[in-house]
């Protein structure tokens, strides 16, 4: 048995679940921030085992889903240019912009390459000096370190043909946006363990204090998630609002300080639009002026783009935890993973896609 297997052990999960059933006396609504956690909850059927009093609502932590339509349209415009190799994480290919997606660009002859790491995009730039290589730098704090390292590496190599299109978002401002909504039902958070691996959890202390909300740093395996929910419920039952670390095998309070320093060197905070939610002040990162020559938005003339969104689906409400997918009239009929109306159906981490793939029928509570 490997380390990971023990966090998927059915007996251990059931023992933790029993403890959870004993601990809960009232209904509670808990939001897991991260799309990876939503995916894991659905993949393992964890919500089947929860006490009926606990409702999980799914947060805006899917970077694919929340990337703004303006940036998708810019990506499509850049990727369509003849001398460009556009590199991206895989699931961005399926995200619809106003008039198409990266699949369409590729089918029309555009060079769109899936990479696993932005450093692979740097390698592609080295191998293709006569092409402009652009990396679509999306993600939460988790992907920020490799994204900034690609820029630092390109700088060290003095690459003239590498740039990144930045759609970098941050968790704490999104938590505050959710909590500040007059409709918010969220009583506790499971924080996204991978984000905290990079950033630590010192940033979350003032959020827990200000909104009097328990926050539990949580991992991604079934046992991690059960433990995160259990700790959150114990706090809710006791009326405390602390930041707890239920993912201590990976996360420290300080986080990865070298990675944080690299991020600070290359990025600065900025306002950012979240698809389905709107503009959240200082919720993103952009390149600092001294790295402007690696900014794809400046290298390519893509400033003037008219965007257009469908009005059928309720992705915005789902991303805020106000609705669950089966409450959408389009879910599973007009809107499916291969014909997504909403960004939440696009990425496998998106809430609607996770529901569709794992729970299509009947809808689950939570």
């Amino acid at each position: 048995m490997t380390l990971l297997d023990s966090f998927r052990d059915g007996k251990k999960v059931r023992a933790a679940m029993d403890e959870l059933h004993r601990s809960v006396t009232r209904p509670w609504t808990i939001m897991e921030i991260c799309g990876g956690q939503t995916h894991s909850i659905m993949q393992y059927g964890l919500s089947d085992l929860l006490p009926p009093q606990i409702e999980l609502v799914h947060g805006p932590g899917c970077p694919v889903c929340v990337t703004s339509i303006e940036l998708i349209d810019k990506a499509l415009a850049i990727a369509s240019q003849p001398n460009v190799i556009f590199t991206t994480f895989g699931d961005m290919l399926r995200v619809p912009g106003s008039h198409g997606d990266l699949f369409s660009v590729r089918a029309a002859g555009g060079q769109v390459h899936i990479v696993y790491s932005p450093l692979d995009a740097v390698k592609i730039a080295l191998k293709n000096p006569d092409k402009q290589v652009v990396f679509f730098a999306i993600g939460f704090e988790t992907t920020a370190p490799p994204n900034v390292y690609s820029v630092l590496q390109a700088q060290a190599l003095d690459l003239k043909n590498f740039s990144i299109l930045v759609s970098q978002v941050r968790v704490p401002p999104a938590m505050e946006a959710v909590l500040s909504s007059p409709h918010s039902r969220v009583q506790a958070f499971l924080a996204a363990g991978h984000v905290n691996a990079v950033m630590g959890y010192w940033e979350y202390l003032p959020v827990a204090e200000k909104y009097r909300v328990p926050i539990v740093v949580t991992g991604f395996e079934p046992l991690d998630l059960t433990q995160g929910i259990l700790w959150a419920v114990r706090q809710l039952e006791q009326g405390t609002h602390e930041v707890q670390n239920a993912y201590s095998r990976v996360v420290t309070k300080e986080g990865n300080t070298r990675a944080q320093q690299a991020i600070q060197k290359v990025f600065m905070e900025c306002d950012r639009n979240w698809r389905g939610i709107g503009m959240i002040p200082m919720s993103g990162w952009r390149l600092r002026p001294e790295f402007a020559r690696f900014d794809a938005e400046q290298r390519f003339q893509v400033g003037d783009i008219q965007t257009h969104e469908s009005e059928i689906c309720i992705a915005g409400l789902i991303l805020q935890g106000l609705k669950n997918p089966h409450e959408c009239p389009a879910y599973g009929t007009l809107c499916t993973p291969q014909n997504p109306l909403g960004a939440t159906m696009v990425s496998s981490e998106g809430t609607c896609a996770a529901y569709y793939n794992f729970k299509r029928n009947p809808p689950v509570k939570g």
Partner: protein, 359 residues
């Protein structure tokens, strides 16, 4: 950040649908829902016959009146493309023979003859072509089938990817045999002949784009021998199907839809090679959606399940065979997976192109 600076949260907004009805995209070749929709909208509306309408990977046709043979003729055809052309455990030649031999065998028929069409790209090294054709000869010998027709075309550099091979297979289906995706019944047992996902992961690693290496070998193999022993042990077998593109999950969904039954699987029983599982985990794939080229799903009545399983395990290509689930009446058309922690989830058809997850 002060509360007053927070955004007014917008209501329902969302992007327009994109179903790609106007041009072919890679997802149309995934073997999943997009492939099914393309076949329904373009092909089935224009080309029809009783054999095609059965929706199996093979067509079964009657022998002409006056023929002295009993039984039926089974035909299957398959176009083979793969990058790289040579991969651990096989090459495109072996794949082209095994793929078609297996499709014919899934009817219960004995495969007999093959025809091959080659599209060669200008610049393909003759040595490589020889290596590929040697593999075809070896695989055909192992399967006991004979090549009886062929064709070769050459296209300009850039108009193909080295070599594409189409193979057509013909087999004989003895009288009384009735196997197909529409025949699964409540109570039946679902078996699989071995570990899942080996071929897809071996090819992905060999492609080199993702910068990872594995010890995994493709499982490409002719399964007609294994299937004949299964049919001797379990003569009332209802369904045989190879989980190729789209993997186990997509193939079982096809069967659940054709037979109008539910398939209930036990995740702990599904055999997946440890290395494949790890590779899938860090690449963001699910092994149940990864292609296989030497595995068969066998659905049999419960009283023949043990005999079928034993027969598979005695064959070199079936040593890791396992009982993975049962067929039930409801909820018809769905495949449900009991997870390792005891929850239940729907196992859906692959949508389009398999895309790795970001994190």
């Amino acid at each position: 950040m002060t509360t007053s600076s927070l955004p007014h949260l917008e209501g329902p907004i969302c992007p327009l649908p994109l179903s790609h009805p106007d041009q072919i995209v890679m997802g149309h070749g995934s073997g999943g829902q997009m492939t099914q929709q393309l076949i329904a909208s373009v092909f089935q509306s224009r080309l029809t016959s009783e054999a095609l309408a059965a929706n199996n990977d093979f067509g079964s046709v009657a022998l002409p009146d006056g023929s002295l043979l009993k039984g039926r003729v089974v035909v299957s055809t398959d176009a083979h493309i793969v990058t790289p052309l040579v991969f651990p455990g096989g090459d495109i030649g072996k794949l082209a023979v095994c793929g078609t031999v297996n499709d014919v065998s899934m009817s219960g028929a004995v495969p007999l003859y093959l025809a091959a069409g080659f599209i060669l790209e200008e610049g393909l090294p003759i040595r490589l072509l020889e290596q590929i054709v040697d593999s075809m000869r070896d695989a055909a010998q192992e399967a006991g089938v004979q090549f009886v027709a062929g064709d070769t075309k050459v296209v300009e550099k850039g108009k193909a990817d080295g070599i594409f091979i189409n193979t057509t297979g013909i087999g004989w289906l003895p009288e009384g045999m009735s196997i197909g995706g529409e025949r699964a019944q409540p109570g039946d047992v679902v078996l699989v002949s071995g570990t899942l996902g080996d071929h897809g992961i071996a090819v992905l690693a060999a492609r080199g784009d993702l910068d990872f290496e594995t010890s995994v070998q493709s499982d490409t193999a002719p399964l007609n021998g294994l299937i004949q022993t299964v049919l001797q042990a379990a003569p009332h077998t209802h369904v045989l199907r190879d989980p190729t593109r789209g993997g186990l999950a997509t193939t079982l969904n096809e069967i659940a839809a054709q037979s109008k039954v539910a398939i209930h699987l036990d995740e702990t029983a599904i055999p997946v090679n440890r290395v494949v599982r790890s590779a899938c985990e860090f690449l963001g794939f699910d092994p149940l959606y990864i292609a296989n080229e030497g595995k068969v799903i066998v659905i049999v009545p419960p009283n023949e399940a043990e005999a079928a399983l034993d027969a598979m395990r005695r064959n070199p290509y079936g040593q890791n065979a396992a009982r993975i689930g049962v067929v039930e009446a409801t909820p018809a058309g769905l495949v449900l997976l009991k997870t390792i922690i005891g929850g239940t989830r729907v196992l859906n058809t692959l949508a389009g192109e398999i895309l790795p997850r970001i994190c």
